[in-house]
């Protein structure tokens, strides 16, 4: 945790593939290109958390939520939800705010496969399937987003940023490749 001087509270910055949740007066921040962040909160506690993920690669014409790639999104969501439940949240109290999915990655699959669009569709379908209401949504477009989420109040500050675009695109691309790699040697099942 570093201290954010502007807000006068501790700040936790999350990178692609990470999530963080808290019951304290802190700010959770991230920068999003084509990735998605979902902020989830149970205001009755209050507790909130946010993740930062993407679906690594396409898989045919299945519904976004049934694709192989979606498992990585489902997993990112489940890790965050389980963490919130452990901090006292109730699943039927959770509400969401969704950000990201802008078209900043320039990659070889761009012509046939729209990563940001797939990510956005996944997030919306997932929340709908799980019955988690979406309070606000800022997705799509071409500019990266800087997000500040305050779990204690569920408030979000968002701004568009031009400066980080190319570094961000490289970082997200590296993350996508790492996911595909991990996918091929994913969790070896244990039989007792």
């Amino acid at each position: 945790m570093t201290r954010n001087d502007r807000f006068g509270i501790p700040e936790r910055f999350i990178k692609p593939g990470e999530f963080y949740s808290s019951r304290d007066d802190v700010v959770i921040s991230t920068i999003l290109g084509s990735c998605i962040s979902v902020a989830l909160f149970d205001a009755s506690i209050p507790v909130g958390g946010m993740n930062h993920f993407m679906l690594p690669y396409p898989k045919g014409v299945e519904a976004a939520i049934l694709s192989t790639s979606a498992k990585y999104g489902i997993n990112a969501m489940e890790l965050l939800i389980n963490d919130l439940l452990k901090m006292g949240a109730r699943k039927d109290h959770l509400r969401a705010k969704v950000f990201g999915g802008s078209a900043v990655i320039i990659h070889d699959k761009a012509a046939t496969y729209d990563i940001p669009e797939m990510n956005i569709r996944f997030a919306i379908e997932f929340l709908d399937t799980e019955g988690i209401p979406v309070d606000s949504l800022s997705v799509g477009g071409r500019l990266p987003r800087k997000i500040y989420f305050f779990p204690a109040t569920s408030r979000v500050l968002m701004k568009y940023t031009r400066t980080e675009s190319s570094a961000l695109s490289r970082r997200e691309d590296a993350y996508a490749h790492r996911l595909v790699e991990e996918a091929s040697n994913a969790g070896r099942p244990i039989l007792f």
């Binding site: 049934l66 969501m77 389980n82 439940l85 997932f126 399937t129 969790g187 099942p189």
Partner: protein, 121 residues
């Protein structure tokens, strides 16, 4: 006709994604949203294998495993735990509770089916 597998998970998305893979491989699928509902399904229907999450409301997966191990008729039913938990201590707890195996999410489709075939050939 494939074996019947019960999926116990509070996430509708996970149930859908596991159901999709199992049905593609010829299995019949039943669903339950938590441990309590899982036990209810087991008392109503003949099931050859259970695939269960751990963190669920009402009754968690490991409690359900223990209950199954105490219940005549389903005592020896194979139960695979499918979870985001990968910590050694939690896996050990699962083994003690009587789980048959442990699969960490996000799982690999082929390995999941391979493991199922080992447990119910």
């Amino acid at each position: 006709m494939g074996a019947t597998i019960l999926i116990v998970d509070d996430s509708v998305s996970i149930r859908q994604s596991v159901r999709f893979i199992l049905e593609q491989n010829g299995y019949t699928v039943l669903e339950a949203a938590d441990g309590l509902e899982g036990l209810k399904r087991l008392s109503e229907s003949k099931v050859q294998l259970v695939i269960s999450d751990i963190n669920m409301p009402n009754m968690d997966g490991l409690t359900m495993v223990k209950k199954v191990r105490e219940t005549e008729g389903i005592k020896f039913l194979p139960i695979l735990v499918l979870t985001t938990e990968s910590q050694g201590s939690v896996v050990e707890e699962g083994k003690k509770a009587g789980a048959t195996g442990w699969i960490v999410k996000p799982f690999n489709n082929e390995k999941l089916i391979e493991t199922i075939k080992k447990v119910i050939p």
